[in-house]
């Protein structure tokens, strides 16, 4: 049965149903409702909840809880995610699973609290020190945010890696009908690495320190092999009216919703344009974008930033066709009537 859910609360509920055992958070608009929701629910369910002193605190609590084998999550918005980058790097280096929700807002600096997508670089390209990419999933609706939240825990555990749900303030605040999945049972599990006390076994260590260069190199090779496996197996995207498209719009999250409407309008004007929407921002669907670039005449990228995913699109397109860009940077969602003229310009530019 579908129910109306606000994005932040829906993600919180989805995490609970995925078996979230420990949540650590810090208030920041526009994700505070997620923290508030779990501040009620987690204690009721006898699960761990702490409102920490900072996002540095939350991510390191996640690091601790995840090292203890628990399904752990934190959530924040852009400036808070910046603070977490140190911890994210440690979690990746130590290979413990963790889920992070980023309700992106406008930056840089304090920026504003309105929806933005300018965390693309810091989320997909590493963000902290060292060689790594977290898995980054970008929902465009509340239902998809719920589904990806559940999936995020599975991916995090499968790869012992950080998975970030990259939404924006718009998705956090929006209410939409949602089909909530059934709650999962939390099973006691020992996967051979979690810290539970060395009872009748050798002691274990969760660490990211490898002092010998050759040992660190090997450790990094292992992480890189994992990244390649993620790139092979976890690419996700969604397309709309791409079958006969002569032009493509590439956008993610809320920008893709806006592009979807603009594309519908452009089709009504006889323009054969479709939408390619990366759902996994890392791993980015380079191969699919390359295929698209072989059969369309031009591509428009729409983002709520100055052109961050644009760079990945260009890598995929490899200059086969022109790529143009439309971005808004005020921490705001563009309207479809801004995107439609960009599609028309794109068409005119190649005629």
């Amino acid at each position: 049965m579908k129910e109306l859910w606000e994005g932040n609360q829906a993600i919180a509920e989805a995490a609970l149903r995925a078996g979230l055992e420990a949540y650590f958070g810090y208030p920041i608009t526009p994700q505070t409702e997620l923290l508030e929701y779990l501040s009620r629910k987690m204690p009721e369910l006898g699960r761990a909840f702490v409102q920490a002193e900072s996002e540095i605190g939350t991510i390191n609590m996640v690091y601790g809880a995840a090292s203890g084998g628990a399904r752990a999550m934190t959530s924040s918005s852009s400036p808070g995610i910046s603070l977490m980058q140190e911890g994210i790097s440690y979690i990746v280096g130590s290979e413990v699973p963790a889920v992070i929700v980023d309700m992106m807002r406008g930056g840089p600096g304090l920026g504003n609290i309105a929806p933005g997508q300018a965390d693309y670089f810091q989320l997909t390209k590493g963000g902290g020190h060292g060689d790594y990419h977290p898995i980054v999933l970008a929902p465009w609706s509340v239902q998809e945010a719920v589904d990806l939240t559940i999936g995020a825990f599975d991916l995090a555990e499968k790869y012992r890696h950080v998975v970030i749900l990259a939404a924006d303030g718009n998705i956090g605040q929006m209410m939409e009908p949602v089909e909530m999945p059934a709650p999962r049972k939390i099973e006691k599990r020992d996967r051979g690495w979690e810290l539970t006390g060395a009872i009748n076994r050798e002691h274990r260590l969760i660490s990211s320190i490898y002092l010998q260069p050759e040992v660190l190199h090997k450790h990094n090779e292992k992480i890189q092999a994992k990244q390649r496996a993620i790139e092979q197996n976890q690419v996700r995207y969604h397309e709309f009216l791409m079958d006969d498209a002569e032009y493509a719009v590439i956008a993610f999250g809320t920008s893709a919703r806006v592009a979807h409407t603009a594309i519908t309008w452009a089709r009504a004007k006889g323009i054969r344009v479709g939408l390619h929407r990366p759902i996994s921002l890392y791993p980015f669907p380079y191969a699919r974008v390359a295929e698209i670039s072989k059969r369309v005449r031009a591509i428009l990228v729409v983002e709520m930033n100055a052109g961050q995913m644009l760079e990945d699109v260009r890598l995929g397109v490899a200059e086969r066709v022109p790529v143009s860009f439309y971005g808004v940077m005020g921490g705001r969602v563009p309207f479809p009537d801004e995107v439609l003229p960009e599609i028309e310009k794109l068409v005119n530019s190649v005629h």
């Binding site: 761990a48 702490v50 690091y63 628990a70 752990a72 006390g197 260590l205």
Partner: protein
């Protein structure tokens, strides 16, 4: 070979691994490690203990203890320990932190762990200097004390004053047991061991946050002999960092000895 007329009076605690440590000659980290290990053995809690290692000289503490360990980011051990303890409330979780880790970069984490009354134990080793990076000024460096980043001595006009951590944390309602000890002579070593035991006992009885600050020596970075370093602890550090029980909350009193 042990014969009938011999008895074991000194051996490696079960909680320590049979590994030669990397600590400099004369450093008291080894003494403090041993005290913790002896207490884990005596209390029979080695198997249920999870340690959290800091960044600093004692970064490799996990190599020396035969118990589960996590390696925290610099200063974040209390936050990491919070995560571990909250998902394993029936385990014993302790952090082992130096003064740079705890009293500079990790100040927010330690204060809030204490304020929350987080049921963990913290062993805070104060040697008034950044050891691992080669002897720079620490938040606990004494006024006038020379370090590689205060070459003419800590000038309080420029660098401000040292932090007295035990006095600070004793203000926290959530802190159950906060004491300062020293390991500069055998009598104080014994007192330190008792305090370590008290701290862990407080945790085992869910009485709240416990911290033992331990004044320690660093002959290498102080540029002294091992013996002179212990003398420095006694003569220079003790007056500035008086030993004592700074907080024994009512909730903790029945779990404290001595």
């Amino acid at each position: 070979m042990l014969t009938d007329d011999m008895q074991v009076v000194y051996e490696c605690p079960d909680a320590l691994t049979d590994v030669i440590t990397h600590y400099c000659p004369g450093c008291t980290h080894g003494v403090i490690h041993r005290l913790i290990a002896e207490v884990l053995d005596e209390m029979g809690i080695r198997e249920k203990t999870i340690g959290v290692a800091p960044v600093g000289c004692s970064v490799f503490i996990y190599n020396y203890f035969d118990c589960d360990f996590a390696q925290a980011a610099h200063g974040r051990a209390p936050a990491m320990a919070t995560g571990l303890k909250r998902v394993h409330p029936d385990r014993v979780v302790f952090t082992y932190q130096g003064d740079g880790d705890l009293a500079a970069i990790g100040t927010a984490e330690i204060i809030h762990a204490a304020a929350r009354g987080e049921n963990i134990s913290v062993f805070f080793v104060n040697n008034a200097v950044y050891g691992m990076t080669g002897g720079q000024m620490a938040p606990t460096t004494l006024p006038g004390m020379k370090t590689t980043s205060s070459p003419t001595g800590r000038d309080v006009e420029l660098a401000g004053f040292p932090l007295r951590v035990s006095e600070l944390l004793a203000q926290m309602t959530g802190a159950a047991y906060v004491v300062r000890r020293s390991v500069h002579d055998p009598g104080n070593i014994n007192k330190t061991k008792k305090a370590i035991r008290n701290a862990l006992n407080v945790q085992l009885n869910q009485a709240g946050f416990s911290l033992v600050e331990i004044l320690s020596s660093c002959p290498t970075n102080w540029g002294t002999s091992a013996l002179d370093a212990l003398k420095f602890v006694k003569e220079q550090m003790l007056p500035f960092y008086p030993l004592g029980d700074y907080k024994v909350a009512d909730s903790a009193k029945s779990f404290i000895v001595g």
